[in-house]
Each structure stands twice: as C-alpha cells, then as structure tokens.
Amino acid sequence: MKVTVKNWHAIAQWRWDTGTNEDEGDGEGDVCGICRVPYEGCCPSCKMPGDDCPLIWGECSHVFHMHCLLQWIGTAASKQQCPMDRRPWVTAERKVNHSNGR
C-alpha cells in the first residue's frame, strides 16, 4: 500500500528560539525579565505578538522583548546595562544557523 498525502491542514504553534531545548517541557513559562509577559506574548505597549513585537538577544545570553529593553536602555538609570546582570548591554547577532547550535 502506498499512502499519498493530498492535502494536510495542520495546526502548529510558533515559539521564539531562545536557546532552551524545545523538547524539554512545553517551552512556556519563559517570560521577559522586564515585563514578565511570556516571550510569545507581547510587551505591554504592543497589541500583536510575533514579528510586531520581536525579542532581542544580548551577548550576555539574556533575552527580552525588544520594546521593553529599548525602553529600559532609554532611561538614564539603566547606564546601558543589561537589567539582569548589570553588564553593558551588547545586542547579539542572530544567525539563521544559530538556532541549530546551542
């Protein structure tokens, strides 16, 4: 017997590749350290999640909603530091093959 798939309407859920292993747990519960909203949600000033409210990766391995972090960096008190570890904030370069790495 040969099975041919003619048309498959599937349901999938997207998630940000934050480096944690997808298969461990369900990947939910990872929240932005600034607004405490899940990465897959959106920052308080946004209404649409996903590409409209992207994440930002730091060299220090911390990940935030981009809008949250930019707002933080914009304040004088931030001294351009990562809010988690107080190291100077350096945005990491993300590469396509990066996601397969860690």
Partner: protein, 756 residues
C-alpha cells in the same frame, strides 16, 4: 263626668266635621251628596278581577269626576286613597293566583316566555287598577308604589333567574334573526317585528323592575360581553381587537342599552348623557375582559411574537384603562416557571423566549417595569445553566445552524450599554414608575444584546467563550476563507469594545499570517502540508497530546519546520498533532481509497504501509501514548472503509485486496466495536464526579464513626484535609442526600450521623 268644656269641644269638632262634609249646603243635602259621591268614587276605584268574565261596569265619567270633585272639596281624598289601598290589599290574592300559575309554568319548563307573559299580565293588572290621572300625581305615585310593593312581595325567588334569562334573550335579538318565543306574545307581536323587546322594556319600567333588578340587568350585559369577547378574540392575536370590540359595542350594545338605561330620553343628546355612566362601565368591562383573556394567553402570545403584535397593542391599551399589571406579571411568571424554566427546555429556546419577552413587554410597558419583574427569575435561572453563555455567544456570531437568531438583523449595532448613574440635571428626568421595585432602574440597557450580556456581572465571560468559539471555527476552516469570522469580530468589536476583543484580533491575524507564510513556504518548496500557525498565548488552551507522527508524515512536518525556520530565523514550530485534518489517498493493489481523516487515523494507516498486520498495542506504542479507546475508534474508521480488517486479540490486518461483502462475523465485529466504545464515552461529568465521590465516602464514614454526628460544614472542612478533595459544599450536600436515600446515613436538624 264630662265637663262642660269637654262637651263644648266635642260639639265644636262635630260641627266642623259636619260643615266640612256638608260644604255649607242647606240642611243635610251636602252630607247626602257627599255620601253618594263616596259610593261612586269607591266603586270606581274598586280593584276588579280581570279574570272576572262579567263585563266591566261602565261608569259615567262625568259623574265620577263630579264625585271626586265633591270628595276633594270635603278634603276626604286621603281617606279615599287609604280605603283604595286597603281594598287593593284585599284583592291581592287575585294577582297572586295568576303569578303562581305563570311561575309554576316557568319552573317546569324554564322557558322565559312565561316570564314575559307574567310581566305583561301584571302590566294589565296595573293599568286596570290605576286611578284616573286627574286625581293628581300624589295619588298615582302612592298607587304605583303600593302596587310595586305588592307585586314584589308576591314574586317568588325563582322569578329573578327567569327575569335574567328573559333579559339575556333580549340581547340575542342583536345578533340573530330568529325571534325568541316570547316575541309572539300578542301584546308584543304588533310592534316593530325587529324589536319586539321595546314594549317589554316599557312594561319592566312600569312595574318598577328596572330599578329593582338593575344590577341583574347589567350583569346580563357583562356576561354577554364576556361571551362575545371569548368567542371572537380568544386565540386571535393577529389583528387589533379592541377597536373592533368598541365598534361592536357602539353598533350592537348601545342600541340595546337605550332601552334599560335611557328610557326617558327625548333626543340623542339626552340619551348620550344618560348612557355615559353605564357606557363607561361597560367599556371598562370590555377592557377588563380582554386584558384578562390576553393575560391568560400571554405566554403563547409571546411565543407567537411578532405575529401577535396586535394583541400586545390591545393589551397595552387595556392596561392603561384597567389596572391588571400585577396579574399580568404574576401570570407570566407562573407560566414561565411552568413552561420555560425547567430542565426539559433547551437553553436556546429559553433565550429565544426571553428575548421575545423583552420585545413584547417593551411594547406593553415601555418603561420596562413589567419586564424587570418578569425577567428576574429567568435571568436567575439562566445564570445557573452551564451553556447559557455559549448559546448567547453562538447567536452573537450568527450561528448558521439554526434559523432563529436572537439578534434582530435590523437592530442597529451599538456598544453595550452600561448602567448609568441617574442624571438629576436632566431636564427630561422623570421619576420611576410608581409600581417599580426598589432595584428598578429607568435607564437600563435597552437593546437585546446588552440585556442578555447583563445577565452576568461581567462581560469577560462572554469574551472568553467567544474566544473558544472563534478558535473552534478558525481551526476547522480548511479553505482559508475566514471572512465571515472577521466580519463577526468587527461587529462584536462595536459591542464589546476594541480592547476586549484584542485577543480575537490576534487570532485572526494568525490566520492571515499563516496564509502568507504558507504561500512563501510553498514557493520555496511545494509541500502538501498547509499549517495554521497560532500564537499559543492568545488562543484558548488546546488539548495537548504527545502523538508522534510516523513515516512520511513526520518527514513532511520536519521539512515544513525547516522551511519555516529559514523564513523566520528566530522562530520555531511546535506541532499540535491532534488537531487538523488530512486528506489521504491510499493506493492498494486493486483500488485507491480517498479519505478525509484525523491525524491519528492518518498516523495509523501510515504505519500499515510498513507492514500489514498490527496489534493495537504495537500501534499505540509507535505513536506514543494514545489511549486504547481513541485508538480503537480511529482503527474502526478504517475498518468501516474496508481498508482494515479487525481480527481477534485486537489484531488489525490491511486488506490489500478488497473483501467482497463483509462476512457476518466481520460485520458483527464492526458493529461490536463501537458498541464497546460507546459505554465509557457516554459517562457524564456528573457520573464521573459521583464515582470519585465514592472514594471520599470512606473518609466520611470514618469520621462519622469516630465523632458520632457532624454538621455538613464540619464534614466539608474535614474533607478538605483529604488529598485532592475539591468539591463544593453543595456537591457534598447532594452526595450526602444520595447517601441518605440509600439508607446509609440519617439527618436531623442539619446534623448527619450513620444509620445503624
């Protein structure tokens, strides 16, 4: 003994009496003429027997008048009257005899023609005995009064009912052409054949029956009106009846009313003013009867809305005249309780009826006091139903399944209205209606949806339910056309506000994004997989499972994931394998089978392409932890399609070559399988809870054994210590009640103890 003074006094009296009778005539000739006049007058006035065959004695009227004149001069008329009334009393037996005769005829036949005969005969007596009019009004009225008193004392009690029947039969003249039997009475027949009752009425009047039986006559009319309304209006809601009834009153009843109520009228204006009082009483009765009738029918009228619009308008008009609002509320509440708010009624039907009630009572009573009173129990009841919200939401988004939508298409879409604080600076402010309850608010939400949503305290519940419904719909869309859903959400945004539906907005955007992404992926590499990619946090929790797709299905998924990650480098896909559907084509040795199946079914058949024989256990291990029931169900689908064949020991075999006409055993197996599966799926939520509750029974039994007797609160608080106990006290109460019915426990004054 007699003193001189006394003698003189008596002599004086005698002298004056003599001179009065003698009228100053010479000698005693005056006295003689007086005596002659008295005899003539007394004989003239003597009540005679009508039944006496002897011819009526002829009196020389000249002579009689002279005699009366003489008596009047002697001031003896009062004496004569007294004498006359006395002789009337003596002759009374003559009338009594005839009355008895008529009444016994009536009593045996119940035919009111005898009553008519009696009345007319009495008039004859009355006329025969009446003194001549020259004697003056005083004597005539004294005579009439005496005659009335006498006849009334003669008439037996059954006369009243006979009289009533007679009056009622005059009313039938209005509608029918056939004359009642009494109309052939010789005294009536010569009169206008259309209205033989006219002389009858004047006979009633002469005998004083109209005054005496006034309430009886009006009750006859009331009954006639009631019967007419019952006959013409019952169950007819499609046309305005009140106006027609009033017309009927003016055309039919008013001409009749002139007889008993406006007898003395000389012209129409006079008649009108005489009829005014009684007329408005009858009009009131018409309104009262109609509103009683409509009140009784109100539930069905509401069911029939909007076809019953006219009936509602009638009711409104009646209620303005008659104060029957309380009755209406009570009747409707009772009817609702009996016919609507019971477990047998569908929630959708209850909602539909509730909406109709809202619409109908707004017509009857625009301020909404009645509605408020009627709606309260319905709202309470709906709040307790688990699927109320779902029903409301389904109708909000225009559930295509049923034709009746709660929402009127023509109703303008407007934002939900919230309760407002009363604005006292409003120049058009009006106080609340007097019969409004303490909770009543004049400016309650007036549109249907707002009213429905206000059943619950917050609209969040609706938004949540809406989200679930929208999710179900969107995920089941295969052709990527969700314009209808988008339109619905746009409409609902107006009602619920933009921010409340933000989540739904995200869901819709996920749909468009998925489409766009899929177009891109397909342009890179054509795949037969078209996923809907959702933002998990914005969708209602979807049942998750760990189904692992086998073979080429897995490859397809992986390929798509790879393409997706190329397109969106920062994102990854997580498949929700239990959702969605797949269209497969199976190429077997002798045939191809095309099927639209669920993912689990697809996974199984994919495994069968590896080898032909599998057991359920093997299959479930391959796809990872699928419970046997759903696995068996999925396999049964293929068995039904003739692709697989079920053997013993839950072994399934692929049929590369179709089996002609399934043998009885395999047919039995097909039918057998579903039957086995059905049993556990039917188990309701309540049953499951009852099963779980049995575990806790051990705890309860233990504590009642140790502590003797306990109140429900104590049992509940102690059970809370037990692991996993999550029941409410109400659930516990119903469980204890069930245990009591089984005879395990007894309860007294709210304290439970074991039944030993």
């Amino acid at each position: 003994m007699a003193t001189d003074a006394l003698r003189a006094q008596i002599a004086g009296k005698w002298q004056s009496a003599f001179s009065r009778l003698n009228r100053g005539e010479p000698g005693i000739s005056g006295l003689l003429s007086f005596s002659e006049a008295w005899t003539i007058a007394a004989d003239f006035l003597q009540p005679r027997d009508l039944a006496d065959p002897a011819p009526k004695k002829e009196h020389d009227m000249q002579e009689v008048r002279g005699a009366f004149d003489t008596l009047s001069k002697s001031k003896m008329l009062p004496m004569l009257l007294e004498n006359f009334l006395e002789s009337m009393r003596k002759q009374r037996y003559l009338i009594e005899r005839e009355v008895d005769q008529f009444m016994s005829q009536y009593d045996s036949t119940e035919d009111c023609q005898y009553i008519a005969g009696l009345v007319l005969r009495l008039v004859e007596w009355y006329k025969a005995w009446a003194p001549i009019p020259e004697l003056g009004y005083t004597i005539l009225s004294a005579y009439t009064l005496a005659f009335h008193t006498q006849t009334f004392s003669i008439l037996p009690p059954s006369f009243a009912s006979g009289f009533k029947a007679l009056v009622a039969s005059t009313l039938t003249l209005i509608d029918s052409d056939t004359l009642p039997t009494w109309a052939h009475h010789p005294a009536l027949a010569y009169y206008n054949p259309k209205r033989p009752d006219v002389p009858l009425w004047s006979a009633f009047d002469q005998l004083g029956l109209l005054d005496r039986y006034e309430s009886l006559i009006s009750s006859v009319c009331y009954e006639h009106i009631e019967a007419h309304i019952q006959e013409t209006c019952a169950g007819k809601w499609g046309e305005p009846m009140l106006a027609r009834l009033r017309e009927w009153m003016a055309e039919k009843i008013v001409p009749w009313m002139i007889m008993p109520y406006a007898r003395g009228a000389r012209n129409t204006d006079e008649a009108r003013s005489m009829l005014q009082g009684i007329g408005s009483r009858f009009d009131f009765h018409v309104c009262k009867t109609l509103s009683d009738l409509r009140t009784k029918e109100i539930f069905d009228i509401i069911v029939d809305y909007p076809d019953s619009l006219c009936a509602l308008q009638d009711l409104k008009e009646c209620l303005q005249r008659v104060d029957q609002r309380t009755e209406l509320v009570q009747t409707l509440r009772k009817a609702n309780k009996k016919r609507l708010l019971h477990p047998g009624a569908d929630t959708k039907d209850i909602l539909l009826q509730y909406v109709s009630i809202i619409r109908c009572l707004r017509i009857v009573d625009p301020p909404g006091v009645l509605l408020y009173k009627v709606a309260d129990p319905i709202r309470k009841y709906l709040r307790e139903r688990p699927d109320t919200i779902r029903c409301i939401v389904a109708s909000l988004v225009g559930d295509g399944e049923s034709g009746d939508s709660l929402v009127d298409e023509n109703e303008p879409i407007q934002p939900l209205q919230q309760l407002q604080v009363e604005d006292y600076t409003d120049p058009n402010w009006e106080p609340e209606p007097i019969d409004a309850g303490p909770e009543f608010r004049t400016n309650k939400p007036s549109d249907v949806i707002s009213t429905l949503v206000s059943i619950y305290d917050s609209k969040d519940l609706f938004v949540k339910e809406l989200q679930v419904l929208l999710a179900q719909r969107l995920l089941s869309i295969k052709d990527g056309n969700f314009e209808r859903e988008r339109r619905n959400i746009e409409i609902l945004k107006i009602r619920f506000g933009e921010s409340a539906l933000q989540v739904c907005e995200v869901m819709l955007r996920d749909m468009t994004d998925s489409k766009r992404i899929d177009q891109h992926v397909q342009s890179q590499k054509s795949l037969s997989l078209h996923p809907t990619i959702i933002s998990g946090h914005f969708w209602p929790p979807l049942q998750s499972s760990t189904l692992t797709m086998p073979g080429q299905l897995k490859e397809l998924q992986d390929e798509y994931s790879k393409q997706y990650t190329t397109f969106k480098p920062d994102k990854r896909l997580r498949w929700l394998p239990q959702l969605g559907s797949i269209k497969l084509e199976l190429t077997l040795q002798d045939r191809t089978v095309s099927a639209d199946v669920s993912l689990l079914e697809a996974a199984f058949i994919e495994l069968f392409s590896e080898k032909d024989i599998w057991t359920i256990d093997e299959l479930t291990t391959r796809v990872r932890s699928i419970d046997r029931i759903s696995a068996a169900k999925a396999l049964a689908t293929w068995v039904d399609m003739g692709v697989l064949k079920a053997g013993g020991d839950s072994v399934y075999r692929l049929l590369e070559v179709a089996e002609e006409v399934p043998t009885s055993s395999s047919a039995a197996a097909i039918q057998h399988l579903p039957a086995v599966e059905e049993v556990p799926t039917i188990m309701t939520v309540q049953q499951q809870q009852a099963e779980q509750m049995k575990v806790y029974w051990k705890f309860i039994e233990g504590m009642l054994t140790n502590l003797g007797q306990l109140s429900l609160d104590r049992i509940q608080s102690m059970l809370k210590l037990a692991p996993g106990y999550d029941r409410t006290i109400e659930q516990l109460a119903s469980f204890m009640e069930a245990a009591r019915r089984e005879g395990l426990v007894t309860v007294k004054d709210g304290v439970w103890k074991l039944n030993r």
